[in-house]
């Protein structure tokens, strides 16, 4: 029996390996949806916010059924997407319309945020404090990129709004900092230019 801790709404890949030193040796034995809130888990103090709504601790048990159990086996739980994608999924399901955005800055390949329409704020990860933060911003991609880069004290080069579904990331619109704001495209329903369906 595996006791798995995670975040509500996430789907974790439960993997096993007999040789954890080899990264290619891990096998996914199941995808476990985290639906049980963890009892007695500490939560963020203060007034409720979208961060508290998005990230609720969960605890779940999973029983491994091995027909021929090895002498020694290791397990790991892997979330195949990041916490912003999870926040988007959880908040959308709770009636909080949200969007996913990717902001590129020099030296940072990409930093994604989850913009929540109702409080006009986005959730981001502060690497300095190693904590999630909430920043107020206008809804435009350019506004969000400026707010994020300013909070990090950096320039930004481009930002994209994207969607994530079933492991597929689709770029919906890309805004370039050097281009005039009047030419910024609006996000629209889209599909990847090349389908990976095999």
């Amino acid at each position: 029996m595996l006791a798995v801790l995670g975040t509500m709404g996430s789907t974790l890949a439960i993997q096993s390996s007999t040789n954890p030193a080899n990264p290619d040796s891990w096998n996914t034995i199941t995808n476990l949806a985290m639906t049980n809130p963890a009892a007695g888990a500490p939560t963020n103090p203060g007034s409720p916010s979208v961060i508290n709504l998005a990230f609720v601790p969960a605890a779940q048990n999973y029983q491994v059924l091995d027909t021929v159990p090895p002498a020694c086996e290791f397990y790991q739980a892997v979330m195949p997407y990041d916490y912003m994608v999870l926040a988007d999924s959880v908040l959308s399901g709770q009636g909080y319309p949200s969007r996913l955005l990717l902001v590129r800055m020099p030296g940072i390949l990409s930093d994604d945020v989850c913009y929540v329409t109702a409080p006009e704020s986005f959730i981001c990860y502060d690497t300095t404090n190693q904590a999630f933060g909430l920043e107020s911003s206008g809804p435009a991609i350019r506004q969000i990129a400026i707010t994020l880069s300013t909070s990090l004290g950096q320039n930004w080069t481009s930002a994209s709004e994207f969607s994530y579904s079933n492991g597929v990331t689709t770029i919906l619109a890309t805004v370039v900092e050097a281009d005039p704001a009047s030419t910024d495209p609006a996000a629209a329903a889209s599909t990847p230019s090349i389908q990976i369906d095999f």
Binding site: D24, T28, P106, S160, G167, I171, V176, S193
Partner: protein, 379 residues
């Protein structure tokens, strides 16, 4: 003079202000442009990284896909799917980022080439799934160009070259702009420094001329003060001289006054009657002997004709006193009658001595003494 220097200084400082504002404006514009260029350079690097990352992910996907074709391991399948999907995401993001890039057609071509390669890969996987490894090998052999990524690699290299040429071009522009800005700022600072120097020279000249004027004024003041002292000393001497002269005059007047008193006392002490008459024969003064003899007070006789108190018997048409005065001669022992206030006539002998002011006869002194031998006659 001072107003002229003030105007010049104001003009110099205004010019300095204008130059300073121009240099600051230029510096701000350059900083803004430099920031724009920096943003553009960052974007270009992003595009290059994106294109290379997409190519790298494609190769990673191909490697996992080839492993899957050989082994049929689902982990390899998951790996190539993940790599290909990440590659597509990266490619779409890079194409979107290069929307305004001058070499945007290159990215569209890259998308097409990768799309064709993915289609071939899809067919290969399908062949593997339908006919096994042999079927996949046969499909690959019948489509030898499909598995190659040489054209994609060449295009990626071309994109790198194009983007790097843009970087060089922008870098050169930035270098030239920085050089020009440096020159303009240096020139502005130099001109401002020269103007500051000029203003300093003007101020120094002004201070020098003020010092000279102050020295001249001090010298003039000293001279004036010396003159004033000299004049004061002269005035002091003159004042002392005047005081001395005044004292001498006072003494002289006092002496004269004493003399006058003595004379008056002498005249008053004389028992003979004395009449001082003008040339017109009016009485101007009498001595107390007249009052004593005639009972006339002096004020009764002064300014009155002499014949009111002294009558001379008429020997001829002319009055002998008037004739003597006109001729400037004396009369001795003349007979006359003095008329007293009571009307009594007192026979007298009189003498007349003319009074001269220089050579001119202005009057005469007439003295009379009673002469008892002569019969008295009523007036």
């Amino acid at each position: 003079m001072n107003e002229n220097i003030e105007k010049r200084l104001v003009a110099i400082f205004l010019l300095m202000l204008v130059i300073l504002a121009g240099v600051a404006g230029l510096a701000l514009r350059t900083i803004r442009q430099s920031r724009d260029k920096s943003d553009w350079v960052n974007l270009t690097h992003d595009i290059i990284l994106g294109a290379n990352a997409a190519a790298g992910l494609l190769h990673a996907g191909d490697a996992s896909m080839n492993a899957y074709l050989l082994t049929g391991d689902t982990r390899d399948q998951e790996n190539y799917r993940a790599a290909y999907r990440a590659m597509v995401t990266q490619l779409d993001a890079t194409v979107g980022t290069a929307r305004s890039d001058p070499y945007r057609p290159d990215f569209l071509s890259l998308t097409n080439l990768i799309g064709r390669h993915i289609n071939f890969t899809r067919s290969l996987v399908q062949a593997r799934e339908q006919g096994g490894e042999a079927a996949a090998r046969q499909f690959a052999q019948t489509h030898p160009d499909g598995s190659s990524t040489g054209d994609i690699d060449r295009l990626t290299s071309l994109i790198n070259e194009h983007e790097e040429s843009l970087l060089r071009q922008r870098d050169h522009e930035a270098w030239e702009q920085a050089r020009n800005t440096t020159r303009v700022i240096a020139a502005g600072v130099a001109v401002n420094f020269a103007l500051l120097l000029l203003a300093g020279l003007l101020i120094r000249d002004d201070l020098k001329s003020r010092r000279i004027a102050a020295t001249a004024m001090a010298k003039a003041n000293a001279q004036l003060e010396a003159k004033v002292k000299e004049r004061t000393a002269e005035l002091l001497l003159s004042n002392q001289s005047l005081k001395k002269e005044n004292m001498e005059r006072r003494w002289s007047w006092q002496a004269l006054d004493h003399q006058f008193r003595y004379n008056e006392l002498i005249v008053n002490a004389i028992s003979e009657m004395i009449f001082v008459v003008s040339k017109a024969l009016n009485v101007s003064r009498v001595n107390p002997a007249v009052t004593h003899a005639t009972q006339w007070e002096a004020q009764d006789l002064v300014s009155q004709p002499i014949d009111r108190v002294l009558q001379i018997p008429a020997d001829g048409p002319a009055n002998p006193i008037s004739s003597a005065l006109n001729e400037g001669r004396e009369l001795q022992e003349g007979a006359a009658v003095v008329l007293a206030k009571s009307g009594a006539a007192i026979p007298v002998r009189f003498n007349l001595i003319p009074l001269r002011d220089g050579n001119k006869v202005v009057g005469g002194v007439l003295t009379a003494r009673p002469w008892p031998g002569a019969p008295a006659k009523p007036a």
